[in-house]
Symmetry: C4
Amino acid sequence: MAVELERTEQVRSKIHIKNPLLRNALSEFFGTFMLLFIGIGIVMQFILSNEKLNTWININLGWGLAIAFCVYLCSKTSGGHFNPAVSIAFLTLGKLPLKDFLVYCVVQTIGAALGSLAAFGLYYGICDHYCSNNKFILDQVNKFAGAYRTIIGSKATAACFCSFPAFHVSNTTCFFDQFAGTAILVLFVCVIIDKRNGIPAAAHPLLFGLVVMMIGTAYGMNLGYPINPARDLGPRIVTFFIYGSGVFSYHSYYFWIPVIAPLFGAVAGAWSYTFFVGAHIPEQRETTYVLVDEANQPLKLA
Amino acid sequence: MAVELERTEQVRSKIHIKNPLLRNALSEFFGTFMLLFIGIGIVMQFILSNEKLNTWININLGWGLAIAFCVYLCSKTSGGHFNPAVSIAFLTLGKLPLKDFLVYCVVQTIGAALGSLAAFGLYYGICDHYCSNNKFILDQVNKFAGAYRTIIGSKATAACFCSFPAFHVSNTTCFFDQFAGTAILVLFVCVIIDKRNGIPAAAHPLLFGLVVMMIGTAYGMNLGYPINPARDLGPRIVTFFIYGSGVFSYHSYYFWIPVIAPLFGAVAGAWSYTFFVGAHIPEQRETTYVLVDEANQPLKLA
Amino acid sequence: MAVELERTEQVRSKIHIKNPLLRNALSEFFGTFMLLFIGIGIVMQFILSNEKLNTWININLGWGLAIAFCVYLCSKTSGGHFNPAVSIAFLTLGKLPLKDFLVYCVVQTIGAALGSLAAFGLYYGICDHYCSNNKFILDQVNKFAGAYRTIIGSKATAACFCSFPAFHVSNTTCFFDQFAGTAILVLFVCVIIDKRNGIPAAAHPLLFGLVVMMIGTAYGMNLGYPINPARDLGPRIVTFFIYGSGVFSYHSYYFWIPVIAPLFGAVAGAWSYTFFVGAHIPEQRETTYVLVDEANQPLKLA
Amino acid sequence: MAVELERTEQVRSKIHIKNPLLRNALSEFFGTFMLLFIGIGIVMQFILSNEKLNTWININLGWGLAIAFCVYLCSKTSGGHFNPAVSIAFLTLGKLPLKDFLVYCVVQTIGAALGSLAAFGLYYGICDHYCSNNKFILDQVNKFAGAYRTIIGSKATAACFCSFPAFHVSNTTCFFDQFAGTAILVLFVCVIIDKRNGIPAAAHPLLFGLVVMMIGTAYGMNLGYPINPARDLGPRIVTFFIYGSGVFSYHSYYFWIPVIAPLFGAVAGAWSYTFFVGAHIPEQRETTYVLVDEANQPLKLA
């Protein structure tokens, strides 16, 4: 009764990676690549269409779904963090070893950088068309690359890749914005995965996506809710080669804020759930099925 | 075979609150805080971006998801009311003791006030930038605080916190608007939680959120669908310290309407479900699994 | 071990209606009332805010959710048709007796009329404010009621209640638009409820709502997708008392098209599912659970 | 104990098609017809209302739901591909025979053509009204049909049917856009249907729809995300009879790109899932239910 294996099963038997860290690192890399490939495409469709094709609701919907499906992609390997802030929260909760955390941070950032580069490739033509009028305008901020691609100005395109706050938003506000946004994200991630809340595992990735959708309607105005060090730093490294060193010096070296603040926010969010609610959920009796006889007495079998 | 407990379980064993009222009050406080922290952020992103970043659909989506996830947060402790109107409906249905109801009302209102304050903190910079032109305009309504923050006018910001009806909407209309909106909310809450309707518990919070989304597309034009005394009064108390006493005297002391009308509406909504539909659902036979022998006869075990 | 019944159970024991037709008619009346109360509110929020508060996406979302929750409301009594076209499809499928169908049509239309009247009450003030400029314009179409409420013109409000096609949309197009829209609706309703498709019952109402959402993005441009004789005729009767007989004579007595065309479309949609797909779904083996002994042989109990 | 069969069951017993390929081909034809009938309606409502009724978010929502429900329609017969790219991916995965693949391609393209024709019929009046001003403008591109229906220009309508890239989007970009978009689609389709990911079958069609929604927010700007050879070629054949041969020669015979590129993208997407993640998912122990005695020892029955 030999049954021929499906082709994917044949491939699986040949290339299956058994080392958990290697397998999970590959998943985190590929998942973050896909997340940013899709996500940067969403932001570009917003900016490069002059906010006419995508509006803010498409940003919310698109990023939410991108989170959801990329987590589905890796739900049975690494779990789908794609975000050093989520990973550090799991580190403090005792669910992720330190070594894994460090590896995750690196591959997430590389994946994010490459994903944004791929998106740039697909929209290279429209991007050039969008800012072609800039070619004749001298831009002092950008001395490194083609002067028509700029960080600020009416046809600026650097914000397609990562966050650049407006001048009237202080770096202190930026810090608390990223702290709070990531805290909300990780708080609700912990709600969703807490087994005591009884939410089926197959729904978790979709709910994570809806959480990010929600955050984008509430705290997207200051910075555009990166709430993810890899998502912001990875593409920023790419922009260095396009827009020059201004991407780091901009706004008093703002760039480190979306890298550091989410780490603190994630830990605060994760533990505030435990302290305020999670630790106090009453124990549920486990449901037991008992076979009964006609007098409703428990059966003694055998 | 001792197994080391997860870190959250260790914390749980130390801080677990056993007193149900204390536990639930903490949940209601924290949940309402989170709901308003997110929800006021959503409204501010709508108003302070001149309705360009968030449009009305983002308000609907965001508030719906905020309700959904905050209820998930507290679904296994207090159940997640965050709304004295929902609590009074459960009081009349015999599902909440009077003492608990009174405690809930207080902590919900405090949570709402603090949540709106936290949101104001994160958008303080943008709020100032938004109404900075007002600094040079004398505003008669607001004598208490910095005159550039106003309740009415083209750059008014008080509506970020709570409802201020337009002049052509009478207080009578306001009353019925809040009565009807809350009645719709609680009617469908009762539909969702009625076990006879067979909706899985894990889906309840999401469906509550969708109900609020729906209400926002239908009855948001008069007042912006507060339909929750704590959500309106809590932030209004905060606005007293920012905009002065005008927040209470505005529109012939309108402020008490979104506090009182939802209470009546909620009770009407809850019981109209029972009277029109719930009481008439036919009994379903309970499904019984029976072990049968080969002749399809019930087995007699043991 | 007597247990005190919940209050709703006590009420239930006193008022429980056992007659199925009476019970279902009450549900259809109340459900259609709620559907139109919410739905007309949605349309009014679209028109009376000059399409600035609600845009078309809010119409789609809101009506979809209104359908979903009103069907949840009545899912265990009448099933939640609220639409003579759905009822006639079930009549031809042999799932609804003729007598019930006729009763449903009447109570659905009355419920729709009263629901739209309730919505008008809540937005009476804004409606007057919206068209107050019309008071000084002579309107020849409307001779019956206050001349500032009109069927056509830039501040027309009759379309808040029911459909009035533009002049360049012929009545023939209207017929096929309503035929097709209702056919799509009922086709997918039949897909969803077909047990062979294995969709859990608790998800059916939500999916019905999503179907209506979809139709609104595809075939809302000709007439605004009434696709429901009760939803169009009921409120139209109300408009007779507000806008005069023009609501019936408009566009060569168009009014009968959204009453008749959906009935044909519904039957066509229902049966096209059976003919093209439903009748050809292969039989699934039923899953049987068998107790086995250690040798994997079926156990013989007792 | 004879029970009268439901009417649909009676019909089923008479017309049931047992040949799997015939049954599946009928499903693929009808499903693709419905998908395009709805989908082209969505695009027309976007273009012919000057992007005022439908905006981009309605396109995303509508097409996503159209995919979801058309797949539900055929989920138990052909599975609901409606897309030669999806079919070729399944061919390479060993899940679809070559003969079936070829038949699917043909019936999908015919279904798509007829579906777009039906949508054109319903919006014929509005389409004429939309471009009636064009009647007086000489259009060099279009020599075959009524000169007021054009492929390019401010009142062009050919884009209602299929994709026509802007001049600043090169054909190379078009190729990679279609390659990438379809790769994303099929990658996530493979994630969703992989049993190791544990997503319930009843949710698959809805999730497919959400994937398409997501793609539309990210990669809709170059071409409008056809990502489906049948969806683009079928309606293009229809446009040949309306707009002339320009629909094929436009943009250096662009038309073959959305026919060919998705086929390569789909295969790349399907296998990249296997290589990066799918092949490395660790095996789960199967859950086994064991009856135990009071000492928690496995029972020996009989």
